[in-house]
């Protein structure tokens, strides 16, 4: 299962990286006739502006995967930092941070993303930032629960009594203990980030228009022409589904390896 997922993902990443070599045409060029059905020259057909859908899907992989991976990095690193600091230093630091986390968690994910997108405007950079930062509260909560239990372990006490500074304990002992959970979270959230980016772009709040995003290609003007060119709607969606499936399978596999007896990580501290 994990192997299948990893191979799907690997294949897609390969395509994304090698996009200029794989894609037959420039995704933004509108030189072709519009509304062509899928054919040998245009495997996925062309859209209403005359762009080759196949090329757009391939280049779209770059954007979706790139954003997904970048956002996962931000969320993982940020979430781990916040979680560790909050849990390890406890006291009022923990209290304040947790209150702030709870406030942000009041807004459902998509709503928060929509509000942030409305406020910050559309650009690829903004999308990455929004996605990454919006996930930090939840990540930090989960990391914090791990650190809270690790903190009381005898080996930490032993290290402290040997004179280890807080910094050293943090780097050498505490951080590594969060890595298994962080790995699971990162792999599971990659799929979610890709989905979120697609959703945001679909709604018109994500990646700015001319860029070939899988979500954006399924919305806007494309919707009005669905009757004439259903393939524009079908293929990007297929690509998204495949990618997320791959990411989810990998995530499941990692989880099975690290923690086969996990009941569920549904307890996000509530």
């Amino acid at each position: 299962m994990g192997v299948m997922g990893a191979s799907i993902l690997g294949f897609l990443i390969l395509i994304a990286v090698a996009a200029p070599l794989v894609a037959p045409y420039d995704p933004q060029s509108i030189e072709f006739d519009s509304f062509q059905k899928p054919s040998l020259a245009h495997p996925f057909g062309t859209d209403n502006l005359g762009r080759d859908v196949f090329s757009r899907v391939i280049y779209g992989a770059r954007i979706s995967l790139g954003i997904g991976i970048a956002a996962t990095a931000i969320a993982s690193i940020g979430g781990t930092l916040v979680g560790v600091v909050s849990a390890y230093f406890a006291g009022w630091v923990d209290y304040v941070i947790q209150r702030m986390v709870e406030v942000v968690m009041c807004l459902p994910a998509l709503i928060l993303l929509i509000v942030l997108a409305a406020v910050l405007g559309q650009s690829i950079k903004n999308v990455i930032l929004i996605l990454g930062i919006a996930a930090i509260p939840i990540m930090s909560r989960l990391v914090r629960s791990i650190v809270l239990s690790e903190k009381e372990q005898p080996y930490i006490e032993a290290a402290r009594s040997l004179g280890a500074s807080n910094m050293r304990i943090l780097f050498v002992h505490v951080f590594p203990s969060t890595l298994p959970l962080a790995a699971i979270l990162a792999s599971l959230s990659l799929g979610l980030f890709i989905l979120a980016e697609a959703g945001l772009s679909f709604l018109g709040l994500g990646v700015p228009v001319p860029n070939p995003s899988w979500g954006a290609d399924m919305s806007g003007t494309a919707r009005t022409y669905f009757q004439q060119e259903p393939w524009v709607a079908i293929f990007p969606g297929l690509a998204i589904s495949l990618t997320i499936l791959g990411a989810n399978l990998v995530g499941e596999a990692i989880r099975d390896i690290i923690d086969p007896f996990a009941k569920s990580f549904g307890s996000t501290g509530r």
Binding site: E102, L107, A118, Q227, A233, I244, A262, G266
Partner: protein, 319 residues
Amino acid sequence: MLGYIVRRLLAMVPILFGLSVLVFVLCRIAPGNIAQIKLGPDATPEQVAELEHEYGIDKPLPEQYVVWMRDIAHFDLGKSLLRDRPIKDEIASRLPVTVQLLIMTMGVSTTLGLTIGAVSAMNHGRPLDSLLRGVSILGMSVPTFWVATLVILLPSIYFSYAPPFSHIGFFQNPWDNLREYGPPALVLGFASGCGLARIVRGSILGVVSQDFMRTARAKGLSEAVVIRRHALGNVMLPIITILGMEVLGLIGGAVIIEQVFNLNGLGRFILESALSRDYPAIQSMALIIGVAVMLVFLLIDLAYAWLDPRVRLTGESHA
């Protein structure tokens, strides 16, 4: 029990307060204030200043916040910039749509989730389990807006079928109403149900394998009693948490679904407000949603307290 409820309600207040501040600050720091957006790029500075004064946004930020809070205390949510109608009216007219959608979706989701999850758990290790697990993961991986788009597209292409275009109340015409809300509820409910199914399965498997279950059976209790008295409560706890989280996810999902299926609900309202940078509307909706979410959290915690006596005594959700 009552003490627990009161404590939780009191704990909600500072968070709501923080939420209002957060939403307020977010909407005010955005580039381009309300007056500029409303008047457009050709407005003269005098026109902008005049409108700013009328909207009260030329006052210092803390004062604006106080004004907003005072308005809210009087249930005045302000006027939407885009439509020039009081936001309260906009919300009132769209609320029934979203509520119906959510209720139907929750129905589909819980039915599907519980059924698939239970069946999957009971057939643990057999092909049926693997099949259902595969379906669940698939259902969770596919973006809802894609499925929704296909659900609208394909019937119209191949069967020339179109759902009703404008909103039909349930009491006017039940069948058309179902045709209007059925597909969206099914699409959203399926996606949500798949996530639920996985947790249900995991929860059941986790509980059933525990020692106290063996003890109960060894005591000679009938299977029905064993399940009802010992398994059910423990199984329900994580399920309830996830149910709550799913409801929250549905609020976001409703935005997409309403957009695709052209339903005029609250989700669409937020989306349109965000796209047109209608900050008063965004602010109010964010606050309302935040309140709704907190109520959901409260309900979850209450359910926990009811099911798990340890919570009532210690006030903690995890013993």
